[in-house]
Amino acid sequence: MNKLYEGDFSGINMPKDLPILIDAVKAGLSDNVDLSTLYSALATEHPIALCELCVGPRAMRGSEAVKQALRFATALEDSMQPKALYRRLVELSTTNEDSPDVETALAVLDEASKRHPGASWVLPLCDKFEAIPGEAHLTNSIGSGSFEAVCWAHAKAGHMKALHMLSSQGHIECAAAILSTGREDLAIKAAGAVINHSWEAPVVPWFTAISGPKADQILLKLIPYIRSGQAARAMHAQSEPLPNTYKLLSLVLPGLK
């Protein structure tokens, strides 16, 4: 076996001998050789060479090469700005520059959004490759400090389907982000999905924080979407400062189980 695969660089002079390294890796990838040891050794001893190998002008193209590179994203980010790194990896994800392999591009997007949940540069990648643009980025940013900002960014980009999908999992930030764009009807449907998933969801505080005095009229339209008495009672308890919403909920509550 090639000693390079074991991370032995004796007799190799970097960066001059980079072509030798590239040839070895190409051969290794085509023979399904485990290149982890080589990449790890490069990350430690020759990080610039690793960067050249994975994303440089002579970097290898194709799904396997990109997936291998993604395993060393931490090391690559030490040598390259994340935005440029992940865009380059998308470019390299197929041998045909015009149409990157979608599965590999999605793997790049997934890694990028996991490692940088608050990054806005992820958004164009979502538009380009995801069946439901924003789904991966939004999902990966749940629980991060930037989740709210990410929701707003995707709302601004028009990724309403992904936002609605996450609303159905109880994330009020997603419905609120839709409301912030002025798409009241969509926001109401999303809020309905939130409250029907999580009856205690703070829909009233969030919608009021965004729309202020107008929230009372907006939330009136949410009431027909409420399916459980528990959710209606929770919203009723929150809505005393909103006279119209409070009054209508008081009227419909007895009819809800």
């Binding site: 900002a149 707003w152 703070p202 009233v204 924080a209 965004i210 202020g212 005095p213 909103l242």
Partner: protein, 186 residues
């Protein structure tokens, strides 16, 4: 009867411009008292909402038979709230303006505002509190009730600004008073 909102707060910019804002109107026989404020704006909305509900509940006890006594009662009731009930910031981020009116006279007092403007019925806009009044400018629950300013003009709209001393534009104010018959948030 149409009840017109006559007290407006110009609050935050950003993703949640009304976060932590509250408005309450209390009718006391011949008096009406408007209270507008902001608490916990930097918190999550559900947290600031809890603080706001606490304030509303306490202010239901307001009494008084003149604008000055009603205004004083607002602050007394506010100061009686345990600090922990204002949420994680313990009320250190509270801004609030109180306007009590009866007939043609009224009283105004405030904390945590950079400026207060009066908009009269003849469209005149005057700065009545600027950034040189620490008692009004200082954010957070005061140790004592702030002093009140008496005024004579029942139609005046008061506009408090949390952030700036810029003269409010009529459209900006109008956007916060949607519909002349709306009784907003209270």
């Amino acid at each position: 009867m149409h009840i017109h909102k006559q007290t407006v707060l110009l609050g935050s910019l950003g993703r949640r411009p009304f976060s932590g804002e509250f408005y309450l109107r209390i009718e006391l026989s011949m008096l009406n008292v408007e209270i507008i404020g902001r608490v916990g704006a930097s918190l999550r909305p559900e947290e600031s909402w809890e603080a706001h509900l606490t304030i509303r509940e306490a202010l239901k006890m307001v009494s008084g038979d003149t604008p000055l006594t009603a205004t004083r009662s607002v602050w007394d009731n506010l100061l009686a709230i345990p600090r922990r009930d204002f949420g994680p910031n313990l009320g250190g981020d509270l801004s609030m303006m109180v306007v009590a009116r009866t007939g043609a006279i009224g009283a105004l007092s405030a904390i945590g505002l950079k400026s207060i403007w009066s908009l009269s019925a003849d469209d005149r806009t005057d700065l009545i509190v600027g950034p040189d009044m620490p008692q009004v400018n200082t954010v957070g629950i005061p140790t004592l009730p702030p002093k009140a300013l008496e005024f004579e003009d029942s139609d005046t709209v008061f506009v408090g600004s949390v952030l700036s001393t810029n003269e409010p534009s009529p459209s900006e104010v109008a956007s916060l008073i949607p519909g002349n018959d709306a009784r907003l948030l209270g």
